[in-house]
Subunit: 378 residues, 2 copies
């Protein structure tokens, strides 16, 4: 294998596939990055066996030469060192050559690195995904749907299925749901599907987080292929594979109350900042709990009390307060996560009682909601 | 105590004195920030008993009202919470009032915090420093002198005196020296002193680091007062006290070789980047050691070898190579620290043998030097 390539473009691809590589793997070859030089270009692969990422650099693009492949071939190099080295090479052009028994030379200007590589034949094969049914989402919408749900997955392994986000496709609509059983985030959107494809799978939250990081903010479509135990996201020059979580995702539809006894309309930013301030003292207490009460037709009060440190109260103007008066306590962190996930300057909150889950939605937008379970404080 | 004040100015002063406050102190009142409202303005104090910082906010400055003092008085408030609260208050104007038995109310807009304060009478008194002899340095020069030496102090407590920087004033010159016994950094500059003042003290490295962080990059003079066991840095509206380290600083003058058997001239940035690349692999080996050898009249080679991972070699052009040929090994980290500390685009390195300390100086600048002890590798 021997080729020269543009450093910046190559370094970006290395960064991308690095996101799949864990230094704590028990399979030594997976600490490496696989490099394949073909007649068409350079392919980089990284994997931790849960997530696999493949980035392709064509040898030419828009009449520009990016890579000059002198000899096709493959090698596996220690990912951490290789990434550091590529970033710090002195010139814009770098040359990589496998000389003998996986010894690999990396040259740029006067700098020459000689790395001990690994046998590419021993690198595991990526999951084979049949070119079957595909659905498409614009990249920026995909990233928004991930951002608005993935934070709500469980971080505890006691119910592993809850560490993933439930993706359901039916009737041309994708619904993403995450819950850690204390709160729930839901986002839906229309998707382009082949025929009447239906899916109901659970994608690990970690995979979606990594996927989000390597996708650019464009409106280019991402193709999504779902199989029994894998999902593949296919963007330009990039393949992102993740295993799916096994098991059935709980039916969350019953959790979301249909009616409402109290309804508030609030400015998202003002309310978020008031919760943030109240949580300064709440953080010390257990559970980071703040209290919300209605104090009139157009005013609510956010408060928190931490006996050793002090207390805080703040009045926040509400565009409207409808229904029964209410005092309710909840986690400030969950509320802030939910408010940050919602787009839009105005939100409404619908309560059905001090001990029942409540629902936060952007005004005039039914595509997303956040649900939070209150905390009993008395 | 009752006053209102501009939030941004107040928050900056809180940030400054916070640098002296440790959450791990064994003296509970020192986790607090002391606030004194006087007829002249607001004084904030923080201390960990090694470092004490006092920041003063005048009630008026340049015909602008900054603080409105309604009632003089004092209070001590938990520094960490107070800092978070002040930063997050909603409006540009904030009001602080002690109501009863150290209960303190902080108001801004609709937000009201009620903090449990501590008795200001129990706050320790700052060291009393007689208005005696003073010497002056422009702030930016003081910061440069700290930056160019403090990184070389020892981080080990086996010889506590080496955790400080030796400050010597004699013949109108300030000399700052730091060493951890593997390398040494020296910087000197002329200072304005009263009469023929002479000092020889050791200032804790941590104190100088904190001082550097809170001083602005101006040419305004900082007044420095040195007593038996304290040093006071006095800038505009800011007093910074540090205790001195007890004991005698070793005489380092014998360490610096007067002669030279090999002399190199190098471009600082090119050499630094080559060392940085070589250290990528060296980091894995013990000691982070790189090797330097002469390979001709105008070329040196930097290399490093880590049997498990690979090796790296790089040739660097030297403006001149004079004297005996030499192969020498040293810590890449120490070399990078030294090169980053030196100002100037060209440096020279003077060696007196492969096992003797060598000296790095900027070209045409005798005010500073860096000394490094080589590492034996064979």
């Amino acid at each position: 294998m021997k080729f020269s390539i543009q450093k910046d473009r190559f370094a970006q691809s290395v960064q991308d596939v690095l996101k799949a590589i864990s230094s704590r793997t028990t399979i030594p070859i997976l600490t490496g990055i696989k490099i394949d030089a073909t007649e068409e270009g350079i392919k980089l692969t990284g994997s931790d066996s849960d997530i696999s990422i493949e980035s392709f650099i064509p040898k030419e693009e828009e009449d520009q030469v990016i890579a000059d492949i002198k000899q096709v071939g493959s090698i596996v190099l220690n990912a951490r060192f290789f990434n550091e080295i590529v970033k710090k090479l002195p010139l814009e052009k770098i040359e990589i050559e496998v000389i003998t028994s996986f010894q690999t030379v990396i040259r740029s200007g006067q700098a020459e690195f000689n790395l001990n590589g690994l046998d590419p034949e021993e690198y595991p094969h990526l999951p084979q995904i049949e070119e079957g049914e595909v659905f498409k989402l614009p990249t920026d919408l995909l990233k928004a749907m991930v951002r608005q749900t993935v934070f709500a997955v469980s971080t505890s392994e006691t119910r592993p299925i809850l560490t993933g986000v439930n993706w359901k496709v039916e009737d041309g609509e994708l619904i993403c749901i995450a819950t850690d059983s204390h709160r729930l985030a839901l986002r839906k959107a229309a998707v382009e599907t082949d025929a009447n494809a239906e899916y109901n799978v659970v994608i690990p939250g970690k995979s979606l987080n990594e996927l989000s990081k390597i996708l650019d903010d464009t409106q280019e479509p991402v193709e999504i292929v779902i199989t029994d135990n894998q999902v593949l996201f296919r963007a330009k020059h990039l393949l992102f594979y993740s295993r799916l979580l096994e098991g059935n995702y709980p039916d969350t539809s019953r959790l979301i109350p249909a009616d409402s006894k109290t309804k508030l309309e609030l400015n998202t930013k003002e309310f978020l900042q008031a919760i943030d301030r109240a949580s300064l003292l709440a953080r010390e207490g257990r559970n980071n709990v703040v209290k919300l009460s209605m104090i009139g037709e157009e005013m609510i009060e956010v408060s928190s009390n931490s006996p050793e440190i002090g207390k805080v109260t703040e009045q926040v103007k509400s565009q409207s307060v409808e229904g029964e008066e209410l005092k309710i306590s909840f986690s400030a962190k969950y509320m802030m996560d939910a408010l940050k996930a919602l787009e839009g300057t105005e939100i409404n909150i619908q309560f059905t009682g001090a001990m029942r889950p409540f629902v936060i939605r952007p005004q005039h937008d039914d595509s997303t909601l956040q649900l939070i379970l209150p905390v009993r404080t008395y």
